[in-house]
């Protein structure tokens, strides 16, 4: 029964991946290959599509694979499968979290952890900025990057970034509006 297989496979993917989107890709690949749901070229498409469309990458991939394997119902079932472990685990954790939220030890722990998460958010910003600012995303060699600085940096991207940041910090522009404007801007001036 393909629906049950889809549900179980994506539940497994949801359950065994820590740290979101990209960490799930090898797991998704393994499940797809063992069931023969997609061809190798279709799999490469998934990653690109999941990235370029709104929504969590893991959820997007689940819907795509499910649809290709078993139509609309397949997409729905794979998506429910991938989200179920998160839902169940967090329901269990949140009961205790809200119970002990004001406990002194809990406060001490999160005092230490919050700067970590801000650090992780910052590294996410750097990661996205790097893909937006560099023309050749495959270049990893630092000395090559410094030598060819002028050719690699996407100056249009950097300029739009600076303007966006000013709009956000100074004028508190709504994030949704920002996304819409930047999409249109991308079409007009080809960043």
């Amino acid at each position: 029964m393909i629906y049950l297989q889809l549900f179980l496979s994506f539940m497994k993917i949801g359950l065994f991946s820590f740290g979101g989107g990209y960490a799930m890709i090898p797991l998704i690949q393994k499940e797809i290959e063992s069931h023969g749901w997609l061809s190798a070229s279709q799999f490469v498409d998934i990653i690109a599509i999941a990235e370029m469309t709104p929504g969590p990458i893991a959820v997007n991939s689940a819907t795509f694979v499910g649809y290709k394997a078993a139509g609309i119902v397949g997409g729905l079932i794979a998506t429910i499968g991938v989200a179920t472990p998160s839902l169940v685990l967090i329901l269990i954790v949140s009961r205790y979290f809200f119970k002990f939220q004001d406990h002194p030890v809990n406060k001490m722990i999160f005092y230490g952890i919050r700067p970590v998460i801000v650090g992780l958010i910052f590294s996410a910003a750097v990661f996205v900025a790097q893909t937006a600012f560099l023309k050749e995303s495959t270049v990893l060699n630092l000395s090559y990057m410094l030598e060819n600085f002028l050719y690699i940096i996407n100056f249009k991207g950097v300029l739009i970034f600076a303007i966006s940041l000013i709009c956000l910090v100074k004028f508190k522009i709504n994030p949704i509006l920002m996304i819409v404007i930047s999409g249109i801007l991308g079409l007009l001036i080809t960043i």
């Binding site: 709104p54 230490g112 970590v116």
Partner: protein, 180 residues
Amino acid sequence: MGELWKLFATFCRIGAFTFGGGYAMLPLIQKEIVEKNQWATDEEVLDYYAIGQCTPGIIAVNTATFIGFKRKGIPGAIAATCGIVFPSIVIITIIAAYLKHFEDYAIVQHAFGGIRVAVAALILNTVIKMWNTSVKDWLGILIFSASFVAVAFFNISPIIVVVISATLGIFTANTRTDVR
């Protein structure tokens, strides 16, 4: 019913404008959840992310479940989770069904090129906003810098960094005024 619908609709809006998962969702969470609806504070959102980072699963769904549960218990958690995945289901189904090689269309690539730049600015703006509420002293600055370097340059698992920092938080508690 009203509140459940509001949870669903709010997370739907967040899901529909999040490009790139987990951390790209934070600017929208901050606007819609913290500022507009005041369903959680900045600190609480960071705490949910910390837990999401250390438990299996999709961080976006983990966060939605947390906030949904806080507002309306289990039905709230389900409503918020349905909301966050709903746009994906609709958009991806349409693409999978009708648009072959969606990612190769010039119009898609150009729009995405613009959006990616804005996402970088949005996430950095979140760092600036979160800084004041969560990095409070020299220890915070140290932990922030060490975590960034560990994860960005050395590929160290965030879970390890979280555990070490939690321990530091406990052992330095007597030097701080925040804990009574």
